[in-house]
Amino acid sequence: MSPSGSETLPRFTVVGNPENRRVALFAEAVTAAGLPAPRVVPWTRVLRAGRTEFAPGEIVRIDSPGENADVDRLLRDVDDPTRVEGTARWYARFLAAVRGLRGGVRLDDPDDLAVLFDKRRCHAVLGAADVPVPFSPTSAAAGAAVDGWDDVRLLMREHRMPRLFVKLAHGSSASGVLAVEAAGRGRVRATTSVELAPDGRLFNSLRVRRYEREQDIAAIVDTLAPDGLHLERWLPKASQHGRVADLRVLVVAGRATHAVVRTSAGPLTNLHLGGARGDLEEVRRAVEAAGGSWADALAVCERAAACFPRTLCVGVDLLPAIGWRRFAVGEVNAFGDLLPRLTGLPGSGAEGLDTYAAQVAAVLCAHSTSPPDARPATAPHPGARAGFARDPRHSSDPGPRHRTGPDHVIA
C-alpha cells in the first residue's frame, strides 16, 4: 500500500471499549486489508458526551460496550459489574447513546439494535417473518407481562410448558437466563448462571447452578422481573456425543459465513459456562443423514438476519431439534461476532477470513468502487449475493441507508 493512496482509502471508526479484544481484532482485520487503522471512539466518551458526530465518509462500526466496569456503571448504575440487575436501564441508555451518534456511514442501525436487544420484540419480528422460533407467550406487544414467578407459573400452566427458558428481555451472554422445569407433583428446578446471594442480590456466575427450592427460584425471578422477562418453550435439542448441541451462525451482509457448534452437558451451551465447541462437519453430516439440508439450516439463519437489513452482521443462535431435521432460532445477537480465529464456511465467500475480516471485505465490496489494491487479496465478495441491506421496504430507495455516503468513502 503506497502512502499516497491512504487519502482515498475507506476510513473505519469503531465505537467500543479500546482495551477490549473485540476492538483489537477488528482493527487487525482493517489493517490486514491494507487500510489505515480504525479510529476508536471509546464508549465512555460517547456516553458522557450524549452526542457524537462522525465525518461524512467515516465508516462507523458499533461494538459491544461490555466487559468494562466504567461503561457498565454509566449504562446501568451498578457498583459491581457482575450484578445481574439493571438491564432495563442499560437498554434505555444504550439506545439513547446509539441514537446520539450522528453522521458517518453506519454498519448498524438504532432501530435494528432496539429490536435485537429486546428478546420479546426480536421473537415477534422473527415470527412475523416466518423464521421458526420456539413458542413464546411474551412475544412483543401482544405478549403477556411477567411481574414475577407467579406469572411464570401461570403461563407455564396455561400454555402447557413444563420446561421453558426464562430470560431477561435485555440480557446477553446467558446473563439472567434460567432453564426451568416443573412437574405436576410440585417438583421444580432451575438451571442458571445466576447466583442468589443471601441478601437477595443476583450475580452472574461462571458456575452453572441448579436451584430446586421453589422459594429460591421465585426470589430470583421476582428480582429479575422489573427489568423485563421473556419466556420461551424449551425445545429439546439434538445432541452430539451425549452433549446437547446448538449452533452460532454468523451472517455477514446477508450471507451465513461462519458457524460453530456449541455443546454442553446442561441446557446452557455458552462457552464461558463450560460449553465446548463441537464438530461442525459432524453436524453437517447428521443433518444430511437425517434427511435435512445443511443449506436450509443456513438459510434459516439468513432469513433471521434479513429481519435486520441495516445491520451488517448478526450472530444467530440456531437450535437443532432432536433428530437434526428441524431448526429454530433461539436468539439473534448484535455483537455475536467474537469468534476468534474461526474462518469462513466453505462456499460462503469468507473462506480463509475470520469474522472481522469477512465484515471488512463485505463493506469494501458493498462500496466496491474502492481501488482494487484496497481489497484483501483473499477476499472474494461475501456481499455479492446480497448487499447487507436488502430490506424490501427500501427497494424503491435510490440506495439503502448505509450507502448514503459511498462517494465520500472513496473520496
Binding site: 413458542f135 420446561r163 412437574a183 418453550r233 425445545l235 429439546p236 446437547v244 431439534a321
Partner: protein
Amino acid sequence: MAWRITTGFTDEDDGWEQTFERFCSAVDTTRVRALIVGAWECVFDCGPDDVIEALLAARDRLPALRALFLGDIVFEECELSWIVQTHVTGLLRGLPALEEFGVRGGTELAFQGLRHDNLRSLTVQTGGLPAGVVRGIGASDLPALEHLDVWLGTSSYGADCEPADLEGILSGTRLPRLRHLALRNSEIQDGVATALAAAPVVARLEVLDLSLGILSDEGATALLGGQPLTHLKKLDLHHHYIGEELRQRIRQTLEPSGVEVDLGPGDGDSYEEDDGTVVRYVAAGE
C-alpha cells in the same frame, strides 16, 4: 427394523396416540416386529397410560410384535428421574408373545408379579427404582428370561430397595434360563455385590453386570471372598470406586480363567463438600 414413535414438543406436533394411529394406517402393521415408544406429551406430569391403552387396543393388528421399549426419552427431553411411568404389568400380560421389553423411568413405575412364557429380555432403566418393582420382578415366573437388566438408582430419586428385596431375583428359582444379570446404577451397589457373592442365581450366569453404581472396595472384597466367578464370560464393573489394589486382585483372580473384566477407563466422579464429605454418584441419576 424397529419403529420409534414419539411426540415432538412444539405446538403443531400431534399427540402420541394420533401419531401412532397415523403409523398404523401408513404401514403394514402385521409385519411390525419392534416398537419404541418415545416421549408422550405429558411425560412430566403423567405416565403413559394412554399409550398403553392405544398399544393394547391395536394388539390384534400387531401379531408379529416381539420387542417393545416404553419411554425412549433422552435427558434433553426429560431427565431420567423426571419421566413419569405407570403400571406396566397389564401391558406385558396383554402382549404374551413379547420377547423383549424395556422401560425407562422409575417415578410411579409399578410391576406386579406375573407369569410370562416368552419374555427373553427385560430392561428397567431408572435413576431411582421403587422396591415394589424389584420385588415384583422377583415374584414373576419368567421361564424364558435370559437377560435381566435393572437400574436401581438412588434414594434421592425414589430408590428404596434394600438387598433383601432382591431375594426373588437372586434365588433364581423363577428365572431358570437367566444368563445375563445386571443389577446396576445403584447407590447400594456394595450391598448388591455382597448379596450376589452368595446368590444361587450366579452359578447359571454368563455375564454379571454391576456397573454404573457406587461399587467400592467393600463390594469388591465381598465379590472376591464369595463364590467363584471364574465360570463367567464377563464381569462388568465399569464406573466404580474400587481402589487400584483390589482392581488388580479382581483381574488376577478372574482373567486367567478367561473372564473378561471391565473396570472401565477410570473411576466414577466424586465431589468433596466444604465439610470434607466425599459425595459419590451413580452414573445415571437425574
